[in-house]
């Protein structure tokens, strides 16, 4: 535990585990799965920032994940089809003679790549401006972001000819010219995902220890007081929300080559809640907690459903209940209690007076 004290050391350990130990210890199939878990971990880091540090329970990360995923998948589908061709599903289900206009820019790899991150961030900016300026928060915000996911999923499903409908975009063969069926290339995809996770962690760490990070926590714990100090809490929250959206978008984009499919099933209410659970288990306010929690929860889900396919939902349910009720600071708070650092960080350490937040 002492070692983890210095984030740099923790970072180095993480890098060794991800780049050294995991690829050696795991077979192709399990490494593919790990790549998928790491994508979820990237989303979780963003949620940790927005929720753990900023107090915004973003139940809409599926929406941004989907935006990033679809942006990437659209490009890969176009690349698979070859220049000037239409993706296979459009020929099957669409009644179109040519590519719809909003597909065309995605043929350009640079546009598509930047869109995977910028599109979610831009949408989050617009939404955040609307929502935070009007002081929608707490439960309102959580439920509104859920509704956002539901609406987006329904919209995607309704446009089968141009979005693939419920099927989503499947059967993706190549990744920027590399054949995804080749195990070597799949391994490379894993390394890219792992590197992305480390990069996102580094960025979040910077954000957390900066002056902005302090401000964000202050907004979480007393929004009105921060306002009285002359800051605009809306802007402070907006930055965290947009950053979290960007991370979810990035994760969605990497999910596509790692798993080979993106579909509305990854966007709706259910996956969005599942994104959050790992964060809560790992420790929402810490840096590594959300990522480790997300990986642990995703791994547990796979392992349990393989062992007891017809009863694993019970365990999944318990996974939601037990850590949150009995360990509100997540697994990271266990480390925290051992360390006894002076800095108040987790929610546990604010024994809330019996104040019901939503009655405002």
């Amino acid at each position: 535990m002492r070692l983890l004290r210095k984030p740099v050391t923790g970072f180095a350990i993480g890098a060794v585990l991800l780049f050294g130990v995991a690829p050696l210890a795991l077979g192709d199939f399990r490494l593919d799965l790990l790549a998928k878990y790491l994508c979820f971990a990237i989303v979780a880091v963003g949620i940790g920032l927005a929720w753990g540090r900023g107090g915004m329970l973003t139940l809409g990360q599926g929406f941004f994940f989907g935006l990033g995923g679809y942006a990437m998948a659209m490009h890969l589908k176009l690349a698979d089809a070859g220049p000037g061709q239409m993706p296979d599903f459009m020929l099957l289900y669409g009644q179109l003679d040519e590519l719809p206009w909003w597909w065309r820019p995605f043929a350009n790899p640079l546009f598509a790549l930047s869109a995977t991150v910028l599109l979610p961030m831009f949408t989050a900016l617009l939404l955040g401006l609307l929502i935070f300026r009007r002081k929608v928060r707490g439960a309102y915000f959580a439920i509104l972001s859920q509704a956002l996911c539901a609406a987006f999923a329904i919209l995607l499903i309704g446009q089968q000819g141009t979005t693939g409908g419920t099927n989503g975009l499947t059967n993706i063969q190549g990744f920027f010219g590399y054949d995804l069926n080749d195990p070597v290339n799949r391994r490379t995809v894993y390394f890219i995902v792992a590197a992305a996770l480390l990069a996102v962690l580094a960025l979040t760490w910077q954000l957390m220890r900066s002056r902005y990070g302090e401000l964000l926590v202050a907004v979480r714990d007393g929004e009105e007081r921060v306002r009285f100090l002359g800051y605009d809490p809306a802007n402070v929250k907006l930055v965290a929300y947009v950053a979290a959206a960007g991370m979810a978008g990035l994760a969605g984009a990497l999910f596509v080559p790692a798993v080979g499919i993106v579909s509305p099933a990854m966007i709706g209410v259910v996956p969005s809640i599942e994104f959050v659970i790992g964060v809560a288990v790992g420790g929402r306010a810490s840096l590594l907690g959300p990522a480790l929690g997300a990986i642990a929860v995703a791994w547990a889900k796979t392992a349990l459903s393989e062992r007891v396919p017809s009863a694993w939902t019970y365990f999944e349910g318990l996974l939601f209940i037990l850590p949150i009720v009995f360990l509100p600071g997540g697994l990271a708070s266990l480390a925290g209690t051992i360390r006894r650092r002076s800095r108040p960080s987790a929610v546990v350490e604010t024994p809330a007076p019996a104040k019901v937040e939503v009655t405002t």
């Binding site: 707490g138 309102y140 439920i143 509704a147 929004e223 405002t360």
Partner: protein
């Protein structure tokens, strides 16, 4: 004209269903701040109550009538159990209740699957409620929908009376408006919480009974409706019964009107945009409860 009228009634009947589902939430979520995602599974419990009772009571009409109070108690008891075991530890963390109760809902769904089987089950409706009432040649409204409308309005009336006139209602309102002061004044807030939760969850059971008339009865029936129900409460204004009632009907009519001219998916998206726009105008919902809290 008939078309508009019949669509209007459809909208009102969709609204009535929304209202029935959201009514219990407006208590547990609106008054107590608990985001209970397992509310949908309490509705499911109410629906399965009808199924179980029909194994014993053969008359479809009687079984439905008996099911109403039984489902209220069954779902209410589940609610109290949930409150006692989990939620009372979480009153200071309303957002966490969302995740915990989601876990509970997963468990309850699987439980239903193991007890009643994965496929949907069948209940019989009394013949009276499967037909329709003819107003003019072209304007025909279904009797099950009328029943649900009446049931929803009765439930609202009963709840209003309880909240406004009985000692229990007074206590509930006191705890909602200022928990600390209520405790200082000698109210057993924990008991009041439990009773509130009983009533709120019980209402879900009644909604479940009503849903057997129009929808499927199966393990996942709760998940499809829960988000919409929460939206109704949020837009209506937390802690405000009248807001929930008005918004349920407005959303129902809006949905049905848009859906008639476009498609279901377009209608859902438009309703969502309308809600976001509305919250720009009134971020705390249609009606707001003023408190002195700073947060």
């Amino acid at each position: 004209m008939t078309l508009v009228l019949s669509q209007l009634f459809t909208g009102i009947s969709i609204g009535a269903v929304l209202l029935l589902i959201a009514l219990g939430l407006s208590l547990t979520f609106g008054q107590m701040g608990v985001i209970n995602m397992a509310h949908g599974e309490f509705i499911m419990a109410g629906a399965y109550t009808v199924y179980v009772l029909q194994q014993v009571i053969t008359g479809a009409g009687w079984s439905l009538l008996v099911a109403l109070p039984v489902a209220f108690v069954v779902a209410g008891a589940m609610g109290v159990l949930l409150e006692f075991l989990l939620i009372r530890r979480l009153y200071a963390r309303p957002l966490d209740t969302l995740l915990v109760t989601w876990g509970v809902s997963l468990i309850l769904q699987q439980l239903a699957r193991d007890v009643f089987g994965a496929p949907n089950v069948q209940t019989r409706a009394p013949e009276l409620l499967t037909g329709s009432i003819r107003i003019t040649d072209h304007l025909v409204i279904s009797s099950s929908r009328v029943f649900i409308l009446v049931l929803a309005l009765t439930a609202v009336a009963a709840l209003t009376i309880v909240l406004k006139t009985t000692p229990l209602g007074r206590r509930i309102r006191a705890v909602v408006q200022n928990r600390d002061l209520a405790a200082v004044s000698g109210l057993a807030t924990a008991r009041v919480d439990r009773l509130t939760f009983f009533i709120g969850s019980g209402l879900a059971g009644i909604a479940g009974v009503a849903l057997t008339l129009i929808g499927p009865i199966g393990p996942t029936m709760g998940t499809n409706i829960i988000v919409n129900a929460f939206l109704v409460v949020v837009v209506g204004g937390i802690g405000q019964l009248q807001g929930t009632v008005i918004v349920a009907f407005v959303l129902g009519v809006l949905q049905s009107m848009v859906e008639y001219t476009t498609t279901v998916s377009v209608a859902s998206v438009i309703v969502f945009i309308a809600i976001v726009a509305f919250l720009q105008w009134r971020p705390q919902g249609l009606f707001t409860l003023r408190t002195r809290s700073l947060a």
